[in-house]
Symmetry: C2
Subunit: 65 residues, 2 copies
Amino acid sequence: MKNYIRDNRSERGMTQDDLAEVLGVSRQTIISLEKGRYNPSLELAFKLAGVFGCRIEDLFDPEEE
Amino acid sequence: MKNYIRDNRSERGMTQDDLAEVLGVSRQTIISLEKGRYNPSLELAFKLAGVFGCRIEDLFDPEEE
DNA sequence: GGGTAAAGTAAAGTAAGTTTTACGTAAAGG
DNA sequence: CCTTTACGTAAAACTTACTTTACTTTACCC
């Protein structure tokens, strides 16, 4: 499942470490997420949408990939 | 995390078995989901929104519980 | 009462998300 | 050069989503 986490993160000038910390997850989780290595839990998806001020549907595209 | 899966399901006259089958998961998964025993994967959340023709944010409330 | 459909519980097992630790690389600055 | 910052990889350990199987309960209907 494709996602736009990296785009949103760098648009805001955040490092992977920053994002991991504000989300309360490890940096490894961010790296793997951005690389599309797995699909996050719904809870993490909601946190991401919260941080970026958008909806889950704006961050993830279930159609692609 | 609170959800409105049971409401949406029974509004449509579906049984837990029906929903499980159309989602491609086990009935146990539906039971546990409706009981709020765990948070689903994002992929399952997208499938649910697809079946019910709504957005994830309409099915799950990350604030409550 | 017996039969069946829908929902529930419980436990053990498998699959996948997430963490932790440790090391590698490339770019930027002093 | 050397250090620091940001990003990457890899593997083992842990946690939790999800499956499978088997059995229970409730209600409705004949």
